[in-house]
């Protein structure tokens, strides 16, 4: 079939103009082909944890175009609207291009030398006066692997403090503790192929249509091809996802815990479980109950796991009858029965998908455990097309924050500072004495900002994130940051933000393809890219910034590399080999459109713990949870009860407040807010209210309404017919808007096991403003 060049171009123009990602030769084979002065390179998208592949077109040192990479298995050429505007996110008018130092109320331009000298002197002073635990780094799931690795190494092996945390603590820490407590190894067994291969999808607290659009379109594609496919959306708010789902099941906030136990109750009661799978692969445990909410400073919690029998577990489930849970959750008992049967239906390939509704939850670890329970009871796990899958919101929350281990308690490859063997191994690879790495974790993110407020932390360096907009109970921590004394705050970013405005030094950073990078997405896929353009002005890579501080503090020996990224990666890779977390040599990632670990003998792993897919599982073993040595290589079913939220509506504050994202704006909007088309499409945060509640308050669509919690108060425009529809007694506000910081209202209660705050539930009142 012949096609002239002209025809192709016309067709391509039309197709693209109407958002078709057609995909041509270019990109499929030779991504670095240069033609017409434009050079194309591959990179993962800068935004969410999906990890879409994009092709980046560069001309005269500037990104002139981006498009979905047809050769990328994640997105197969498709992007969401944020991805289509990637070429614009780096070119906002107010890009930071010079270091700035605070002189009174003014930020004054300075040289890199001056800025780094000042930072190094503040670090030295504070460490000498108050010890290494008085300095801290707050990083990000948007850190490249190199940036996170360098920061962790400098703080843990150089400065000698565990004061390092990522914003990922606000985002998926509960997913990590869920994985660790159930499987003793972080990250999913399944992968995105399950979105194409399954036929039954339960979404829990995940507005995939807006927050993981490309993955959602894979689900929708699957349904279009296979009429058996059912998508069931459990939510506390009717979203675009609910709209496209086959069934929307509304439940009262926090009762997901009870619902999952009711589903397990029915499965056990009616013997719908997979007895063989349970006998071979599962143990039962219980932990502490009434575990608190972390509202007090220096709150501490340690679980006390106890083994139990299947019969004891059956007893534990007894109270969670469909009738009881129906009263609690507002879901009809009949629906709960139906859902349990769907989960257990042997002719169905069942998947559960979740995001922040589960993770940002005062019982986040528990609710993660509970969804695994259902999959373990039914044996619907570790099989192509049948898996529980935790989705992530940042491009390298998995690759950097979790795998490199940039949390206070973690080391690379699932190791922890509390374990002597782990410290020894890390110290050996890092070339430092084992005593150098402190054995005690210090502060998780919320506690870190509390410590800054109290004055226990003096010097804080923030990279690639915007905590003074994104932390919960924000007013306290914003005030704390500017309390003076010995406090000194450094913020590295690419634009002025609500965090740079509180800084003593602002450092202009390079972003995305202005540097060489490596991200790891939600399906264990590591993706590398090369630097394609120079950063503007004097902006520099965060990796360089960290190593420069190291050099000035006398820790330059930690970074003895020539080709920094490659050599650092090969060093980091040593942690992963033989651990079931094996990464490929750096070179392999420069060519591939990502590889899913463990990568053994050049082969990636689609399904972990599964014979025939995972090289760590021997022939005849079928499924083996080989990372869970303490539990005899079995996964744990946890008896975790329903416990109420930290703050529930009452007479004074009668509404639930839930916060989250919208399609067009990402996180705190610092990048997407600079793209006029995205700003126009969704420019400011609004307050979604149920029409009946609004009527009672005499509020009409478009009226101003004051939203007040015990912690803060803001005025927003009421939205009664937006894309998301609040349920009665609930309101929803997106958190991206830097002029309407809803997080001032959020409570800083967190899951005692994961330390992740609950941004989805607190009590507010509404008044017509």
């Amino acid at each position: 079939m012949a096609l002239s060049r002209r025809d192709f171009l016309k067709a391509s123009a039309a197709a693209a103009a109407l958002a078709a990602a057609t995909g041509g030769r270019l990109g499929a084979t030779d991504v670095h082909a240069a033609e017409g002065g434009i050079r194309w390179g591959k990179a993962p998208c800068r935004f969410c944890g999906t990890g879409c592949g994009v092709l980046v077109g560069v001309k005269d040192g500037r990104i002139v175009a981006t498009k979905g990479d047809p050769a990328a298995p994640v997105n197969k050429g498709l992007n969401c609207i944020k991805g289509y505007f990637l070429s614009k996110v780096l070119y906002g008018k107010d890009r930071l291009t010079k270091p700035l130092i605070r002189k009174g109320n003014k930020m004054v331009e300075a040289s890199w030398d001056e800025a780094m000298d000042l930072i190094a002197s503040k670090f030295r002073e504070s460490i000498a006066k108050h010890g290494p635990d008085s300095v801290a780094m707050f990083g990000s799931g948007q850190w490249t692997v190199f940036e996170g690795y360098a920061a962790a190494k400098l703080f843990k092996a150089g400065i000698g403090t565990n004061n390092i945390e990522p914003n990922a603590r606000f985002c998926m820490a509960s997913a990590v503790t869920g994985f660790m407590t159930t499987f003793n190894s972080d990250e999913p067994m399944g992968c995105y192929d399950d979105l194409d291969l399954g036929d039954t999808y339960f979404l829990w607290g995940a507005n995939m249509a807006e927050c993981h659009p490309v993955l959602f379109s894979r689900l929708i594609d699957n349904r279009l091809k296979n009429p058996k496919v059912k998508i069931i959306d459990f939510g506390t708010r009717f979203t675009r996802t609910s709209q496209m789902a086959d069934k929307y099941i509304r439940f009262n906030p926090q009762t997901d815990l009870a619902l999952l136990n009711a589903i397990a109750h029915i499965i056990v009661r009616d013997r719908l479980y997979d007895e063989n799978f349970i006998r071979k692969h599962v143990v039962f445990k219980k932990g502490k109950t009434n575990i608190g909410y972390g509202l007090e400073d220096k709150f501490k919690f340690a679980d006390d796991p106890k083994p139990m029998t299947f019969d004891e577990y059956r007893e534990f489930l007894k109270p969670y009858t469909p009738e009881y849970v129906s009263k609690l959750s507002g879901v009809p008992a009949k629906t709960i029965e139906e859902v349990a049967r769907l989960y257990a239906d042997k002719s169905r390939k069942v998947n559960s998908l979740w995001t922040m509704g589960f993770n940002q939850h005062v019982r986040g670890t528990w609710v993660n455990n509970l969804v695994y329970n259902v999959h373990l009871l039914t044996g619907k796990i570790c099989k192509p097309g049948e898996n529980p899958m935790s989705l992530t919101g940042q491009p390298s929350a998995c690759g950097t924050a979790r795998e490199v281990g940039t949390f206070t308690h973690r080391l690379p490859a699932d190791m922890v500072v509390m374990n002597e063997e782990h410290r020894k191994k890390a110290a050996e690879i890092w070339g430092v004495p084992a005593e150098k790495i402190p054995a005690k974790p210090t502060y998780h993110a919320t506690e870190m900002f509390r410590a800054l407020d109290r004055g226990d932390i003096k010097v804080l360096w923030v990279q690639v994130t915007n905590p003074f907009q994104s932390a919960p109970n924000l007013s306290r921590y914003r005030k704390g940051a500017r309390k003076g004394g010995d406090r000194f705050i450094i913020v590295s970013d690419i634009y002025p933000t609500r965090s740079t405005e509180l800084a003593d030094v602002v450092l202009p950073s390079a972003s995305w393809v202005e540097k060489e990078g490596f991200f790891g997405n939600a399906e264990r896929r590591g993706q590398q890219w090369f630097k394609m353009v120079e950063p503007p002005g004097e902006a520099r890579n965060d990796l360089w910034q960290t190593m420069e501080l190291a050099r000035r503090l006398g820790h330059g020996n930690l970074f003895p590399y020539k080709y920094v990224e490659k050599e650092m990666f090969e060093e980091y890779r040593k942690f992963t080999l033989g651990q079931g977390k094996d990464l490929a040599p750096y070179e392999a990632y420069t060519k591939a459109r990502g590889l899913r670990w463990p990568v053994v003998n050049g082969k990636e792993t689609l399904w972990r713990y599964t014979e025939g897919y995972d090289p760590y599982v021997k022939a005849g073993e079928g499924v083996k949870f080989y990372k869970n040595k303490p539990n005899d290589y079995k996964a744990v079913i946890w008896a975790r009860p329903y416990e109420p939220a930290a703050e529930a509506p009452d007479r004074q504050y009668p509404f639930w407040l839930c916060t989250g994202r919208v399609l067009e704006q990402w996180h705190t909007g610092t990048m997407t807010g600079r793209v006029p088309e995205l700003k126009r499409a969704y420019g400011g945060a609004v307050c979604e209210i149920h029409p009946e509640d609004a009527k009672r308050l005499k509020v009409k669509h478009g009226d101003k309404v004051r939203v007040t919690s015990r912690r803060g108060s803001i005025v927003l425009t009421a939205d009664l017919r937006g894309r998301g529809k609040a349920e009665k007694g609930n309101v929803f506000v997106a958190f991206f808007d830097e002029n309407k910081m809803i997080n001032e209202l959020c409570i800083d209660a967190y899951c005692p096991i994961s330390g992740e705050p609950d941004y989805k539930k607190c009590a507010v009142k509404l008044e017509k403003a």
Binding site: L3, F8, A11, L18, A19, I38, W40, S217, M244, Y682
Partner: protein, 100 residues
């Protein structure tokens, strides 16, 4: 926009031949591709009221076949329309249609 429309129809007609492109020797220039691979057009009208509770049904009511002067979608098999096509400036002539 009219030109785009005719191109869109052409594109539909060429949907099959496009698949065969991988075997073609000719490679379009990067400039041409960058022009071609622009961002998806925004909605110049308010999002229509849902049809049968579904956004896709509402969009595709016109855009599937190009009814009422709407541009025909070259990829009607993609049902999550708003993941790419976001609200743009509402043109005067569209103001009466749909509601926000």
């Amino acid at each position: 926009m009219k030109k785009m429309l005719s191109l869109a129809i052409l594109c539909m007609a060429l949907a099959l031949p496009l698949m065969a492109l991988a075997d073609e020797e000719e490679v379009p220039s990067a400039k041409e591709i960058s022009e071609a691979e622009g961002v998806p057009p925004v909605m110049p009208h308010a999002a229509p009221p849902l049809k049968n509770g579904s956004e896709e049904a509402a969009c595709l009511a016109c855009h599937e076949e190009g009814k009422n002067g709407a541009p025909q979608s070259p990829h009607a098999e993609r049902r999550a329309c708003t993941q790419c096509h976001v609200q743009g400036e509402i043109k005067e002539k569209h103001k009466k249609k749909g509601k926000r």
